[in-house]
Symmetry: C2
Subunit: 416 residues, 2 copies
């Protein structure tokens, strides 16, 4: 990507009403645009990051044997009345509107109900189970306060997966596999060591649900972490009874701020019963279907990553989800520099290495500032000076010093 052709520009200031670090940095660097509080558009660089996170999540969900689909935003009132989640007293984040004929509709803030109802068309026998499905969907939630940038949106992208199993054991086994898959996701996007499985209250069906909480001062949650055991409990289940049960001692736990990046939940057969989804087993008996629900907030995840990986100069993207691997800055506008930089840009892109090529006619200092702000893992400089030495100048975003190496050495380094 040539920066001269990208319409976004970095900026030094953002509006003072934007108080969250993630949104400030992402707006300054041109990844997102604020439409209103809690409502952000993804500009080209931001969309690339989102798609990279989605690709990782998609791979891990596919590995679980789940199928991707895409449910609708518009939701029918009837369906949610059956499970008592239509009334604003029970669910306080609905956006609602109405059709021309006056019938009320809602805008999807979650999808257990429509997916369960849809599967009534496809599940009737034990042979039809299990079913695992997931989607990436823009959820709409009428949040009272939305002050955490893309960490809490009124409109946000979520991966939501749903499992439908024939019994408790099979459900449990998929639930546990999902924990493993989620840990892989968080490892791959770079927050694995800061993210902890956290016991939360489970509702009517199971004692616990589980959250994946990432340590960050910007988080809206508080967790109680046992570092050695790598598990945590959240505030709502911090009781001596629960601690005993989990073999934890209160004095061994650290109280820490954290952001929920994923959560998984067993609904048992409550919802499937309410909506009339059951199956006939091998003996001809009608049995309940066990539902599990598994979320990862994709745009929130991006926000949390920015909170974790930044310094005073800007974002420091983990390599797997950076919008490009290399920021190629050409310094100087004479023919030799331009030709060499153009050529190296072509060499890299021909090797499918993603490059942001800063081909703008601006000062070196501005280019370096933008490279740091945008947060690309490797900065490469081609200038009169480097041309004379026959080497290029390479600096990692995470490091202070640059090193000189041949183009070949650099490409080899990227491959390792």
């Amino acid at each position: 990507m040539r920066l001269s052709q990208l319409f976004t520009k970095t900026r030094k200031e953002v509006s003072t009403d934007e108080t969250s670090k993630n949104a400030q940095l992402l707006i300054k660097s041109g990844f997102i645009y604020k439409e209103m509080a809690g409502v952000y558009a993804f500009l080209p660089l931001g969309l690339i990051v989102i798609e990279k996170i989605k690709a990782i999540v998609r791979e891990e969900m596919d590995n679980l044997g789940a199928s991707e689909l895409s449910m609708t935003t518009i939701q029918s009132k009837d369906l949610w009345q059956k499970t008592d989640r239509w009334d604003d007293k029970n669910v306080d984040v609905w956006f609602k509107s109405e059709l021309k004929n006056g019938s009320e509709i809602g805008f999807g803030w979650s999808h257990e109900e429509p997916i369960t109802n849809m599967l009534r068309s496809y599940i009737s026998s034990y042979r039809d189970l299990p079913v695992y499905v997931y989607q990436f969907q823009n959820k709409l939630r009428n949040e009272l306060r939305a002050k955490s940038g893309i960490m809490r949106g009124r409109e946000f992208l979520m991966k939501d997966m749903y499992s439908f199993s024939s019994d408790e054991d099979k459900h449990k086994s998929f639930y546990d596999n999902t924990i493993t898959a989620y840990n892989k996701v968080f490892d791959r996007v770079g927050i694995g060591k800061d993210t902890f499985l956290t016991f939360a209250s489970g509702g009517a069906f199971t004692q616990f649900s589980h959250e994946f909480q990432t340590l960050t001062d910007s988080g809206e949650d508080v967790i109680y972490l046992h570092r050695q055991k790598k598990i945590a409990v959240n505030k709502e289940v911090l009781t001596s009874e629960v601690l005993d049960q989990l073999g934890l001692k209160r004095e061994e736990l650290e109280e820490l701020k954290a952001a929920e990046v994923g959560n998984i939940f067993s609904f048992g057969s409550i919802k499937t019963d309410q909506l009339g989804l059951s199956y006939v087993d091998v003996d001809g008996k009608t049995r309940p279907v066990i539902l599990g629900s598994y979320g990862i907030g994709i745009s929130r995840l991006m926000g949390v990553i920015v909170e974790l990986f930044s310094d005073e100069k800007g974002i420091v993207w983990p390599e797997n989800i950076a919008p490009a691997k290399v920021y190629l800055a050409r310094i100087g506008e004479n023919n030799e520099v331009i030709t060499s930089a153009d050529m190296f840009y072509k060499v890299l892109t021909d090797k499918n290495i993603e490059v942001i090529y800063d081909d703008r006619d601006i000062r070196a200092g501005e280019k370096f500032a933008d490279a740091d702000l945008i947060g690309i893992p490797y900065r490469v400089v081609i200038s009169d000076k480097t041309l004379k030495s026959g080497l290029i100048e390479v600096k990692r975003r995470k490091e202070k010093e640059s090193t000189n190496m041949s183009e070949k050495e650099f490409i080899k380094k990227l491959a390792t």
Copy 2:
């Protein structure tokens, strides 16, 4: 993809309230699910087709030099009031709701306003122009009637592109390039020869806008087509004045039903003026920015394709957007057949050939019926009989007769 692991099943009947052919076929074959009139979910096979269409459109838009982004569904009232498109008297398809603080919001049915407004942050000088941006977005439109399946949705997927140019000539040149790109898209998805550039009324700024209309009896529009010249006019501009201007004679035109699959529109500087987007030219003068808007209804396109390419047995997908290239049916459940079919499935998938592998233990007739209904370009049979001959049985969906050939020959045939 193993059919034994796909939760969707084909069905013989659909609800009688579904009158459109495209939705009937897509529901029967398990591509879509009807949430309510005009609101359809995309099940795994349907999502694959949608993604294939998107990939083609994305490639052609990228070739035009446009950048992909993703604007928001939630829209602010203020913005649309500035252009007089908030009031239901002017725009009758708004879904509206409100935030907790009582302020009204709308749900995006189009995005000229927010994109123009966003670009005020990035365009100020002639050096910042042109800007071409596009997105794939779920549009929400409160349609009074929604009876054409996925051809007219209350919620539907659209590719919308916007161009911002410094003058009329540059705008015109991009506008013309887009016509070429759109023709490529329609060629590649298989409806090129049935799709015609159609003159439509242009509004305040230009005399004409342009639609891309595909001939189909299921279409909601009527066009007047000159077959030799490959252009058409729609009803609203069918006047003797326009015909003279375009060099057409009324008696040479055929009156035909058609569906609009794309449309392109010049807004001039009307909207950019209303929203305050201008630029300073090389002489320091403030100048208006010229806006163009270019849509392709992605889910509608899928519907139109199904209307065009089907027979009494089901859908006949054009190869470029079929959910798979090969439907591999194994007939017989003995070890030899299973092993051979499993192996050929692996051979094909290793070669990145997309296969729907019918590994279900059901009758041959059911498999053949499903292969036809789902509409995969090539059906391959492996059975006791084919194993004896050392050949596989290959039938194209479009043809009646099957032919026998070696696995090698088949793979070679696919590559041509």
